[in-house]
Amino acid sequence: MVDQSAVGREFTTVTARVEPGRLRFFLDTIGETNPLYRDETAAQAAGYSAAPVPPTYLFCLEMMDATIPFEFLTALNIDLARVLHGEQRFDYHAPVVIGDTLTFRPRVTGVSEKKGGAMTLVVIETSVTNQDGVQVADISRTVVIRNPRPS
C-alpha cells in the first residue's frame, strides 16, 4: 500500500512536442470544431503565434510521450486495475501552441487514506515548461486507489 514515504518522490521527466497531426486526431476524437484550435489564421487573430492546444491536452501530451507508461503506478507498486481518477487541475501561466516542445516534471505531493483505508488518494503535481524555459502550466492529478480488503 502507498504511504507517506512516497511524498516527494519524483518520476522521469517527459519531453513532448506539440505535433499538428496528433493534435488534429485529438480534436476529431472529442468533436472539437472551434476554428481557433484548427486554423492558424484564427489563432493568430486571437493573439497566438500558432494554434493553441485545448484545455486538457497537456495531460495527454505527458502520457503520449512518457518513455515509461504509468510510471507512477509501477514505481509505487499500484495495480492499474485498482486506480480511478479522482481530481484534475490545470493552472495556465502562458500559451502552449503547435510546435512547442514541453518538459513535464512529475512528483508526488500528497498521500492520504479515505474511508478507513478502503481508498488511498495520491496527488501528483507536474510543472510544465516550454523550449524557452517559460513555465507554461502546473498540473495536479489525484488518483484514487481502491485498496483490497484485508484478509
Binding site: 496528433r22 486526431f25 485529438f26 476529431d28 476524437t29 472529442i30 468533436g31 472539437e32 472551434n34 481557433l36 486571437a46 493573439g47 497566438y48 493553441p52 485545448p54 484545455p55 486538457t56 495531460f59 495527454c60 501530451l61 505527458e62 502520457m63 503520449m64 510521450d65 512518457a66 507508461p69 504509468f70 492499474l80 486495475a81 485498482r82 486506480v83 480511478l84 481518477h85 479522482g86 481530481e87 484534475q88 487541475r89 490545470f90 493552472d91 495556465y92 500559451p95 495536479s140
Partner: protein, 132 residues
C-alpha cells in the same frame, strides 16, 4: 465581458459515448489503460463493462467552456470526478458564474461547472477561473 453572478454562460450537449469513441480516445490521448476499452480487463477489475475515461468527460467540459470563453482568458480549470461515466451516456456540460476573485493580481470571474448524464446524474463538478 461583464458577467453577472448566477448567469449560465456554459451549456453544451454531447452525443452518446460509444465503444468506438473510447477506443479513439485511448489512441488520441495516450491513455492506454485497458479498463476503458477491454471488456475482459474491466470485468476482471470488478466492473460490469468498460467505462469512459474521466479525461474524455473533462475534455468535453473544456470544449463547452472554450466555446463560451476565449481560451486566452482561461487561468485555471479543475474537476472532481464524482461518478463513473458509463457507456452510452449523453452528457450535458454547464457553467455558471459563481463569484469574482483576484487571481495572481488579476480581476477574474470564477465559474462553477457541472457535467451530468441524460438522467441528470452528476458525473463531474469543476471550476474555472477566467480573466475579465
Amino acid at each position: 465581458m461583464t458577467p453577472i453572478i448566477g448567469a449560465r454562460i456554459v451549456h453544451k450537449e454531447f452525443p452518446a459515448i460509444t465503444r468506438h469513441r473510447l477506443a479513439l480516445y485511448c489512441g488520441a490521448s495516450g491513455d492506454h489503460n485497458p479498463i476503458h476499452v477491454d471488456l475482459d480487463f474491466a470485468r476482471k477489475a470488478g466492473f460490469p463493462d468498460v467505462f469512459s475515461h474521466g479525461m474524455l468527460v473533462m475534455a468535453y467540459l473544456g470544449q463547452a467552456l472554450t466555446d463560451a470563453v476565449p481560451p486566452p482568458r482561461l487561468r485555471m480549470f479543475s474537476t472532481r470526478f464524482v461518478a463513473i461515466t458509463q457507456l452510452g451516456a449523453r452528457l450535458t456540460c454547464e457553467g455558471h458564474v459563481s463569484e469574482f476573485v483576484e487571481h495572481d493580481g488579476e480581476r477574474c470571474a470564477k465559474l462553477a461547472l457541472t457535467t451530468k448524464d441524460e438522467n441528470g446524474d452528476l458525473k463531474l463538478t469543476g471550476e474555472a477561473v477566467i480573466a475579465l
